[in-house]
């Protein structure tokens, strides 16, 4: 098991370094790093000092190594606007983004799996067909526009839910979370539903396909031959077999949710990392931009790693195989 983890860690490390190289070279080769790392407001003297200080007059590979060294120490530059370390700014907003992404994931799973199973168990019924049509809509509709329409309907016209922002927060395990209060949930609801739509459609289709495949397997028939009740067959025999592929896909998709929250946070003015990014782009706060990109790539790789490990725990066949390997 440890060999497996180490191997995966090494792979993850390679990817992170590679991505940092791409981001860095992109910034260095395409944009002007002087512009990117030094505020436009600085005067001649400050500029010179900054250039020397940041090593911008040094050759490319030295700069990259400096960048890496700083990055590993957690120093990704200071924000022009807030005059705080960029990384800190991002970390402050991470709980909000994670809260949103987790809720969206939860919604997708809790609603999607039952719907998908239903569609899979009765493939030719009206219910199933409408669920499947709904799922096509789910991944076709452009998320941001649906969010705007939702806002229009539920906030502006009906006034049921607040249109933007995050609700009151409490501290939970050292993090600021908002789902602990009803008011907080009111703010969380629309953005979470909006973000979940795409994944919901995916979960429904996956679950339905899985159900249709598993239900014809011999072991299901054998369970029936034992006289096991229909509900137990669905909830235990079927579900556990479907869950494994669904969970794997979902785990990988969580990173996608965090990345995509950029859009939802912009629409609903949710104070997370994504909104910070877009604001920073608008305000040309380049260190924050670079810090965000590095952070998100890093996060992504970590999430994938965790999912891989979880998967091997969930599926007993994989676990034992890895152990033998």
């Amino acid at each position: 098991m440890t060999v497996f983890i180490i191997r995966r860690l090494m792979q993850a490390g390679v990817v992170v370094v590679l991505m940092s190289f791409i981001v860095f070279s992109g910034v260095f080769l395409v944009g002007d790093p002087v512009d990117i790392l030094i505020s436009d407001e600085a005067d001649e003297e400050d500029r010179e000092r900054a250039i020397a200080g940041l090593g911008l007059d040094k050759p490319f590979h030295i700069q990259y190594l400096l960048f890496l060294r700083n990055a590993v120490q957690g120093n990704l530059g200071d924000s022009f606007i807030f005059e705080e370390p960029a990384l800190l700014l991002i970390l402050e907003r991470m709980p909000a983004t994670f809260e949103l992404a987790l809720f969206a994931l939860l919604l997708a799973v809790v609603i999607g799996i039952p719907l998908g199973m239903l569609a899979g168990l009765r493939p030719n019924s009206v219910t199933s067909k409408s669920i499947m049509t709904g799922s096509i809509l789910g991944f076709s509709l452009p998320t941001f526009w649906v969010g705007i329409m939702m806002m229009m309907l539920f906030a502006v016209i009906l006034g049921w839910l607040p249109s933007t922002g995050r609700g009151p927060t409490t501290t939970f395990l050292g993090l600021e979370v908002s789902f602990t209060s009803w008011e907080g949930i009111r703010y969380l609801l629309m953005p979470a539903i909006n973000l979940s739509l795409f994944k919901l459609a995916l979960v429904i289709r996956l679950t339905r396909a899985g159900t249709r495949e598993v239900i014809h397997q011999d072991y299901i028939k054998f369970a029936r031959a034992k006289g096991i009740s229909g509900s137990r067959i669905v909830l235990v025999h079927l579900l556990k077999n479907i869950l494994i592929p669904v969970v794997t896909v979902l785990g990988l998709e969580f990173g996608g949710l965090v990345a995509f929250s950029v859009v939802t946070e912009t629409v609903f003015a949710w104070p997370g990392m994504g909104k910070l990014l877009i604001d920073s782009i608008g305000m040309l706060d380049r260190p924050v931009i670079v810090a965000y990109l590095m952070m998100i790539v890093f996060l992504f790789v970590v999430i994938n790693l965790v999912v891989d490990i979880l998967y091997s725990i969930l599926d007993p066949r994989v676990r034992l195989q890895e152990m033998k390997a």
């Binding site: 072991y219 054998f222 029936r224 031959a225 006289g227 494994i244 599926d315």
Partner: protein, 340 residues
Amino acid sequence: MNAAGSRPTLQVSHLQTSFMTKAGEVKAVDDISFSVHPGRVLGLVGESGSGKTVTGFSIMGLVDHPGRIVGGEIRFRGEDVVDATEQRWQQLRGNQIAMVFQDPMMTLNPVLRIDTQMIEAIRAHESVSRKEARQRARDALGQVGIPSPDERLKAYPHQFSGGMRQRVSIAIALLNKPDLIIADEPTTALDVTIQAQILYEAQKLCQETGTALIWITHDLSVIAGLADDVAVMYAGRIVEYGEVDDVLDRPLHPYTYGLIGSVPSRNRRGVPLHQIPGMTPSLLNLPPGCAFKTRCPHATDLCITAPEVSEPRGSGRLIRCHLPMSPTGSITELSGISAS
């Protein structure tokens, strides 16, 4: 067949099961009748496609769309179960009628532990504590000869060999002490030695507990050692039915004759193996009249009409044939049949 006049555990009369496919109605089981008495073993023999597995599923009510039972009766201890509700079926299955499937690889759910799958079979029919159910599962595993049952209970199916998995399936079938067990080619995928063991234990079991057993197979040699009665199936119909020693010594139907003759041990060395010429016809394309006509060395114009079930005088057996073999002919005449 008529053991001490006791009520048969299972009585099947004129059963018909068909599959409604896009290409037409496939009569997988076309008017078969037989019965099994307590403590007796019935061997159901036939090639693949003869309808024997579908028969087994029909008796369990497990024929799935697009198939269904279209006619006949299945009486389990007197009760007609053809139209039984799903609820009634759930009460019967795994409890009074149990089935052992053919392929041990896919019969057990790969993501659930063995104890889960055994305990649920018990608790579906009786309210006992998990502990007690576990104990019974443990005993059942011991009964089928699986060593260190405690450890084995916690294991997953893929950690077992094929033979062990099949034993587990059999143990599951025995858990609730059913009155009827249907075993569908349970030893086909196994070693010969293990096969022999399982056969022996099956026989012992029936004698001890009075369980009726239907053993579905294509392998005549298995039947010879195990069964009391045998029914030979061909293209969805039973073509010969009688006590096993009788049928094997003096087969009356040309197909049975051919089957026995093609068993390797029955043939002489140096002489080409006897084969029944031709192939099983597709059930969509059965020849009119007797289904065996195209392969039968004795076929005549009479065989254009389908033969009814008849009992040749004095044989104590039922067959479907217009021209049964002579009851006095013995098996050594087989070498006289040409292979063309």
